[in-house]
Symmetry: C2
Subunit: 294 residues, 2 copies
């Protein structure tokens, strides 16, 4: 490692914060902290970095949202109105900056994960990728030459329009749009539709066939809108064995060979190489890009 | 004007080519040529530019597609497999370059129109805009800092998923996806659903109410996917009086205040300032950017 600079990475989630030190996917130290109130969580995180005894040049945060990511805003780097109790209007960026005494860069969690996969994982070498995560929520980040774009706030890719599948009578679980993609296909929708959580439905083919149909609808829309060279599709729901292949198959049917269609759907729809670590490694990538330019 | 460079712009469409000379929306000369076979159409276009006696430094083309826009491809600048008789595999870019003896830059028609609106029209000063045109076809171009992205071919924004509106029994007119947005809401879908073309349905409120609902579905998806600062919504179908306002209203209902939602929908969904000239003026903008860097 020699004199190469080191960075802290934080994946700040609603249930846990993961913290690591390094400059690549090979982490030198890492830990997990339960998300409680802002004071305790931020302190524990800062203490871990300090106590490691490793000097870091900067910190990257891939955080749950909604975040204010407008650099011209007075509340830049703040969590805004989150339903998470106690966390609304928390200035995550400045509080960590002030406690640690090193500069902090912050992005939305999926933006960090997308960057990590682009820099070192399933998206490397590509100019235009889409990272999608399907779990408790449904998120996506489009990277063009490694950059996300947040002009009107970060995209909310889970909330796109889908068509109800013929056999499906589930009304949808999105409190805003009811039957948008997130409302029909994220983890809570699966639980609500079938009466139990996804992992307990693993053997029921009809659950995953329907899930794959909705996900393929979403992928069609993303492809025709963003024309990515690859879609990296991860998150808890995608842990279901065989689901990724079912999505590929349904997607190929839907595209019908039209437009900027991927020639090799197996390669086009990929799992994240860093799996559940994508956000944490992405936070390191955020810091390295911001503070080292590499 | 003095010694300022001048450029030719061509909007190459399936029914007509429009040609102009200038360096801004104030055109010095312009004409319209019916699209016949490639030889005649291209010759007429080159002749007009030559006969104008105005020396041009380069030519921008905003062309109908599908186009090969991969600079590394052997068929870069070609129309590929178009249903337009005689035009498949026409090397538009090189043929005009060779005849005129000046360099040519080519982009998809909506890409040119988007650039013109961004440079001088309804999108000026914004970092992230979406230009959408609803007419015989349904097209869109997303500009980030004035650039389109074509890594997997240009996007086909009309072919996104929409949900069938409750009262609508029309099966959809897209030969590939049947009931995608284009299949439900472009000009041919309106004609097929109601038995006559849009302009003859001008007084029938239910036609435009349904149209606005589908367009609002599409705008929702674009907003959540691309987070543009403004959507410029033009094309022949949008000439229907009142339709733009109906789309705004339906969109506001659909977004339900969630996500990167525009604070002022009247300002957010805008008509193109150059109306039906957006493509032609965009072609001048393409040339000026490419060959003058401004």
């Amino acid at each position: 490692m020699g004199s190469e600079k080191l960075f802290a990475g934080i994946e700040a989630g609603g249930t846990k914060w993961r913290v690591a030190i390094g400059r690549s996917p090979e982490l030198l130290a890492d830990t997990t902290i339960a998300t409680t109130d802002p004071d305790s969580t931020i302190s524990a995180c800062v203490e871990f970095i300090r106590n490691s005894g490793i000097p870091v040049e900067g910190t990257g945060i891939a955080a749950f949202g909604p975040l204010d990511l407008d650099p011209n805003s007075n509340t830049y780097g703040f969590l805004t109105t989150t339903p998470k109790p106690g966390w609304s209007n928390t200035n995550i960026k400045s509080r960590i900056e002030d406690s640690l005494g090193v500069p902090v860069v912050i992005d939305i969690d999926v933006g960090g994960a997308a960057l990590g996969e682009w820099r070192w994982g399933a998206g490397r070498g590509l100019d235009n990728i889409l990272y999608v995560t399907v779990g408790t929520g449904f998120g996506g980040a489009s990277l063009r030459e490694g950059r996300t774009f947040h002009e009107l706030g970060h995209p909310e890719m889970g909330h796109i329009t889908v068509e109800r599948e013929k056999t499906d009578t589930f009304p949808g679980s999105c409190p805003f749009h009811r039957s948008c993609l997130e409302g029909m296909a994220a983890g809570p929708a699966i639980s609500a539709r079938w009466g139990r959580p996804g992992p307990e439905l693993s053997e029921r083919l009809e659950v995953w066939d329907l899930e794959a149909r909705y996900l393929a609808q979403g992928m069609q829309t993303y492809i025709y809108t963003l024309a990515p060279q690859r879609i990296i599709l991860g998150g808890g729901v995608m842990q279901q064995p065989g689901l990724l292949d079912m999505v590929r198959k349904r997607l190929e049917e839907r595209l019908a060979g039209y437009g900027p269609a991927p020639s090799d759907v197996d390669n086009f729809i990929a799992a994240p190489e860093f799996g559940q670590d994508a956000g944490l490694i992405g936070a390191i990538a955020l810091a390295r890009r911001q503070f080292e330019g590499t």
